[in-house]
């Protein structure tokens, strides 16, 4: 394998060591990572909050700044995809295991264990959805937008390879090709592995939860989850080596359609008016309270402080860990857009979709719980939050059918995101090649699945969250420097442009 780089070798070694650790000493892994997590959460909570908010502010600033006119491509280039297909692709970037897992679970959990006040109150219902909007709204898309902007700008305008380290050229110069560039890429790979492993773990747990909910004879155990991970891993590895690229493409497109159908089904089969009221009301209060929610770490309010550590920090870390992966995709489809168009699109389109999704899924859950007095809390407390979606679907018509549809949806999301993640990992570890050798894809496929497995083995859902929080920490620093790198490059570009304009005027 001529293309294999030092980044590949080192990150493989780290990943294998980690998996061996989890396989041989799961308890030790759980306690050590648990300690690191507690340390990061209690001492660096402010850091995650500030990083996420500053990135979002930068994104919003770029929309209005003079840099907004810079094109992600040559100056005369037209956008590669028309607006409608671009929106559709941004849409699909926002879809995945995450929203299926948390769509019902998060608002319902927040309602029953709220950030402020007593559970099950009117305030809890309002806060629950508002915080779901916070976690799935502008912040994650701000992080992805800036990451994708850096990748697209340096790739399409400066001709750099699609590597995270390549975006550091203005700061580091040719050193990006040396050890420091390699270190940056290894940290990015590390974040991607655990960000994706967290999703795959959630997927496996939820498939198991769904099967158990529909067929109570199937137990909810780590063994079943391992079998699920094994089956899906074999499926996607087979598909990627047999050159079924077309099949995977078809699968991921049809998946998005199935997800939207499921969403529309809940919207119209449920109390449509209530759900849309809930969406609109929360949208207003979300916009109104955005700055406070983004930065409030509540040094004097233990309830909220604890709550925020277990939810907001986890999400911010998870999004940071996902950024290289989603960013690569968004960058790829945005060639030829101006920075202004790009950021408006990436911030607004998926945010509207995600908030709508949470209003419909979570709103249906809260409607059943609060207005119809269905005791969903009991079901979730006894069977785990992974069954939330199925517990809600059970109260709608054709529930067995829709539940099975949901399980298929998660399984196919699992396959498509594992497939795309192995591609991105393969690319990041072969110097940005768009044709990574199959063997690297297989190796990454197995390692990511194995990482998900040992995490589940060592501590279930908590361990998955822990992994994201830790893996994102070093990458957060990379994001900070990336912002400086971008601004520096933009400034130089404007300077050159002004010089040219002056010259042309002189000639006239």
């Amino acid at each position: 394998m001529k293309k294999v780089t030092i980044v590949f070798t080192i990150s493989i070694i780290i990943a294998v060591l980690f998996i061996l650790w989890g396989a041989l000493a799961p308890n030790n892994l759980a306690s050590v990572t648990g300690n690191i997590q507690t340390f990061l959460q209690t001492n660096f909570g402010w850091f995650y909050l500030l990083v996420a908010s500053v990135i979002l502010l930068l994104a919003i600033y770029l929309i209005f700044s003079k840099y907004g006119n810079i094109k992600l491509g040559r100056d005369d280039e037209k956008p590669e995809y028309d607006l409608i297909s671009w929106f559709a692709m941004l849409f699909s970037a926002g879809m995945g295991i995450g929203i299926v897992f948390y769509g019902v679970a998060e608002p319902l959990q927040d309602y029953m264990a709220p950030p402020y006040g007593d559970p099950g109150t009117k305030q809890a219902a309002n806060d629950a959805m508002r915080y779901s909007f916070l976690h799935w709204g502008l912040h994650p898309w701000g992080i992805y937008a800036v990451m994708a902007l850096a990748l697209a700008y340096f790739k399409f305008r400066k001709g750099a390879p699609g590597l995270i380290s390549a975006t550091f050229y203005p700061l580091l110069g040719d050193r990006v090709k040396g050890w420091i560039g390699n270190l940056i890429d290894i940290i990015a790979v590390f974040a991607t592995i655990f960000g994706v492993a967290t999703s795959l773990g959630l997927g496996a747990v939820q498939i198991n939860g769904g099967l158990h909910f529909i067929f109570p004879t199937i137990p909810k155990t780590i063994v079943i989850q391992s079998i699920i991970i094994a089956i899906v891993t074999v499926l996607f590895i087979l598909s990627s080596i047999s050159g079924l690229g077309r099949g995977i493409k078809w699968l991921s497109n049809s998946n998005v359609i199935v997800a939207i159908i499921l969403m529309l089904f809940l919207l119209f089969a449920g109390n449509t008016g209530f759900l849309l009221d809930y969406f609109t009301t929360t949208l207003g209060s979300y916009i109104q309270k955005l700055p406070e929610m983004s930065l409030n770490i509540s040094p004097f309010d233990e309830q909220h402080s604890k709550w925020m550590q277990s939810w907001t920090l986890f999400y911010w870390a998870w999004w940071i860990a996902w950024a290289p992966f989603v960013g690569t995709f968004i960058a790829r489809v945005s060639r030829g857009r101006t920075i202004r168009e790009f950021i408006i699109g990436v911030l607004i389109v998926p945010t509207i979709f995600c908030t709508l999704w949470f209003s419909i899924f979570g709103g249906s859950g809260i409607y059943l719980e609060r207005i119809m007095h269905v005791n969903l809390g009991d079901v979730i407390n006894t069977k785990g939050i992974e069954v939330s979606l199925f517990a809600v679907l059970a109260h709608f018509p054709w529930s067995t059918f829709t539940s099975i549809l949901a399980i298929i949806l998660i399984s196919t999301f699992f396959i498509t995101s594992a497939d795309s993640a192995t591609f991105v990992l393969g690319m990041q570890t072969t110097n940005g090649s768009l044709n990574p050798p199959n063997i690297t894809k297989i190796v990454w496929g197995i390692l990511v699945s194995a990482a998900a497995l040992v995490l589940l083995w060592s501590g279930g859902l908590t361990a998955l969250q822990t992994a994201s929080i830790i893996a994102a920490f070093p990458f957060a620093f990379i994001l900070i420097f990336m912002m400086f790198s971008l601004i520096k490059s933009f400034k130089e570009e404007i300077k050159i442009r002004k010089r040219i304009e002056r010259k042309t005027k002189q000639v006239q």
């Binding site: 790829r332 090649s433 768009l434 042309t504």
Partner: protein
């Protein structure tokens, strides 16, 4: 053909000439949207009026006024045209059947096209310029009904096709590729011949080839 057999990208014969399906719109009466490979003009028709053809090794045809021969075993080089016959796009790729793309760089496993697609060597046929001896011309379904020959017809390009893209005195062009960049201004136009600064003399077609010369700005415009 039947409508359900028609897919985007297929090579088909329509009015005896080679076309490519670029879109299938089943709700319309004229449901098949075609592009004629010879001159890239668009045509609408129905499924019953077209006939499928699968291009293969050593087939030759005219694409955008230039003749090409398909080769399976020759490796592509930078700037070559490829015809993607066996698409298997990865996560970040956006291409489908029979797309014609230009190679921007060659890797061991495949090529990268100018549209940032990673295409493996097994997925495409190389389009070698020129009609090779022993190649199988596929431009016409029935060669006997054709009135024009099968020669590569760079020259039969309508002479006025470049109108509207006429350069003006004062336009600055930049040469693409090459070792060092050349930027030059149009100083004189004599019929089909354009004179640029630095003693460059080009034909109109050459200057309008956006692959080679890129318009920068005009000194005479405000």
């Amino acid at each position: 053909m039947k409508l359900y057999q028609v897919r985007k990208g297929q090579f088909v014969y329509f009015n005896n000439e080679l076309h490519k399906v670029y879109s299938v719109k089943p709700v319309y009466k004229q449901s098949i949207h075609l592009i004629k490979l010879k001159d890239l003009t668009q045509h609408l028709t129905t499924a019953s009026k077209i006939e499928l053809y699968k291009p293969k090794q050593l087939d030759s045809f005219i694409f955008n006024h230039k003749a090409y021969t398909l080769h399976q075993d020759k490796k592509a080089g930078e700037g070559d045209y490829i015809l993607i016959t066996n698409p298997s796009p990865d996560y970040l790729d956006h291409y489908s059947l029979h797309e014609i793309e230009i190679v921007s760089s060659v890797e061991t496993k495949g090529v990268i096209t100018t549209k940032f697609n990673g295409v493996k060597h097994s997925e495409y046929l190389l389009m070698v310029p020129g009609r090779e001896n022993g190649s199988h011309p596929i431009d016409f379904l029935d060669k006997n009904i054709t009135d024009s020959g099968l020669t590569s017809n760079d020259s039969d390009q309508p002479a006025k096709s470049t109108q509207g893209e006429m350069p003006n005195i004062g336009d600055v062009y930049k040469k693409r590729g090459g070792n060092h960049s050349i930027e030059a201004m149009v100083v004189a136009i004599n019929g089909e011949t354009v004179f640029l600064g630095n003693n460059l003399e080009l034909s109109l077609n050459e200057l309008n080839d956006s692959e080679r010369w890129e318009f920068q700005y005009s000194l005479l415009e405000d």
